[in-house]
Symmetry: C2
Subunit: 328 residues, 2 copies
């Protein structure tokens, strides 16, 4: 935390008070944090959550907001197979932002940080019209381990997704309908990054990414980066009963903000991968396979064309919480 | 750059097109950038510039905004004596933000990045009500070198500042008066981070920080962190003729956003430090010394009390560009 401005002192102290002291050569309070050299390669991601785009203060508690801001970054680390190490937190706060709410954000973020052993090493406060939280997070790969990128998929690789799909989207609908509690709402507010599965996946998978914009769109990205096509078994998609009833498989394909992982595993490694996931209690489902192409083309498992939804795109007004709190 | 959403693709491509390709194992385009392990300790900083707080679109060109967003982060690296290595860029853009302006921001940022050899390795776009740019930048210390923190100052250490003080504040006044060009306005819009001086200072100084909130306030931070007091020679402050005429030494003490360095150098090293700065053509001026205390107390060189301005504090409405474009 850059402790530069008198008015920031107490805000910073308040925020930091909710985190354990980072065990680094220089922590928050100087112009930079200073970290010992990393042993393995470093994975770096930066992701922001913005009021009325990724959350609303009416529907999210401060703790939810703090959790989600860190979770979306951890999910990026998970998708590379990295071990979370450190993060910095830049907060833009409206001038009248309540101290109690700031404390809540810190608490929600800190609780998730503890779970994954990631240290807050610095940050920044600025004033702004709307609340936004921009985090930069770093993870480390075990020395000698290759990162799990989007680009390593090969034709024939089997596709897996973790958990269930579409729940966060359904949760958003529930909120819009005036509901305040449901398992789906919890998935929307408190995504759980799949750190352990990512680390496990790094030993088996050829490619991976986290599903933040819906499987259809994110699989398209994996295919494009890997130069392959894909076949999806719609009937195999892991859906909770409520998502199956409310959205169906096609709706779940466009379900953004699930933060589950999509992994491509070469056929020779699928049985050991599945056994390892079973032992680790990581829920995965086989949903299709990569094909020769055409590149980026996603077909049904019986070769039929799929009418794929566009996925989430908040620049196009598609699917996220918008200014009015309605789905765009 | 997380290339997740269709609407972001072209914006990201546009932005990245202005930067040289980062020479890292995995660059922009995947969930994380992947960087080789660092050899020396890493210095990490995060800092944001927000529309109508740190700049206005009426007074700053997009190139100015891009420059300033990176410069304020590089200045933090400079103050630690670090060599700039990589940064990530999170942009929050109003929905109607012109592509031409985005390109201008990238150009201004890229030009400064090239000067200091720092690579853009990733980033993020979100929509927002107001334009803001949050950067996280990393520098590396030469292996075995200690970072230059705020906490190493000892009584008797001689205080130096680089360049001249108060110009950025005067530049803001000029803008407010309707002027569009002056040397001071250039200092406000295009601060030049003192990277080379920071690296040189790391060999001699006991403590340092960058002057972002005015010498009075920033010296106070150095004193507090080092557990010392200080004496300032007001008549020695390096002021440009226009700052001397318009603000005087007291006004310059509160001149935020200069991004000059304040260094404390033990008395036994001052002559070699001064000679090294002369050879390197780094302009420094001796402005006082650290004292036993009381801790944080800053007095005049003849022991007189100084009426010190509070410095910049945008949470208290003090001194930065505010919502109405007037100084608070």
């Amino acid at each position: 935390m850059s402790q530069k401005r008198a008015g920031e002192f107490t805000l910073i102290d308040l925020f930091l008070s909710q985190f354990p002291r980072a065990r680094v050569p220089v922590g928050p309070g100087d112009d930079c944090a200073v970290l010992a050299p990393s042993k393995g390669a470093q994975c770096i991601t930066t992701d922001a959550v913005v009021e009325d785009v990724h959350f609303t203060r009416a529907w999210f508690t401060p703790e939810d907001i703090g959790h989600k801001a860190l979770a979306v970054n951890l999910s990026d680390l998970a998708s590379m197979g990295a071990v979370p190490r450190w993060f910095v937190c830049a907060l833009a706060l409206p001038r009248d932002f309540p101290r109690r709410a700031l404390l809540g954000i810190a608490r929600g973020m800190s609780a998730l940080a503890r779970v994954h052993g990631i240290a807050l090493v610095g940050g920044n406060f600025t004033s702004a019209r709307e609340l936004s939280i921009t985090l930069t997070a770093a993870g480390e790969l075990s020395p000698g381990t290759a990162p799990l990128t989007r680009a390593g998929g090969r034709p024939g690789d089997v596709l897996y997704v973790s958990g269930t799909l579409g729940d966060a989207r359904l949760g958003l609908s529930h909120l819009q309908q005036g509901r305040r509690r449901s398992p789906a709402i919890l998935r929307q507010k408190r995504p759980e990054p799949r750190i352990a599965l990512g680390r496990l996946g790094a030993r088996f998978a050829s490619a991976a990414l986290d599903i933040s914009d819906g499987l259809a769109q994110d699989l398209g990205h994996l295919c494009a980066a890997s130069g392959v096509g894909a076949e999806l078994e719609l009937e195999s998609l892991p859906l909770s009963p409520s998502v199956r009833a409310a959205l169906g498989p096609e709706g779940a394909l466009a379900g953004g903000e699930d933060y589950e992982l999509l992994l491509a595993v070469p056929p020779g490694r699928t049985s050991t991968f599945e056994r390892a996931c079973l032992r680790a209690e990581e829920p995965i489902t086989r949903v299709g396979r990569l094909t020769e192409g055409p590149v980026g083309r996603i077909r049904g498992a019986r070769g039929q064309g799929l009418r794929l939804p566009a996925g989430f795109d908040h620049f196009q007004g598609g699917g996220r919480i918008d200014r009015s709190g309605r789905e765009g």
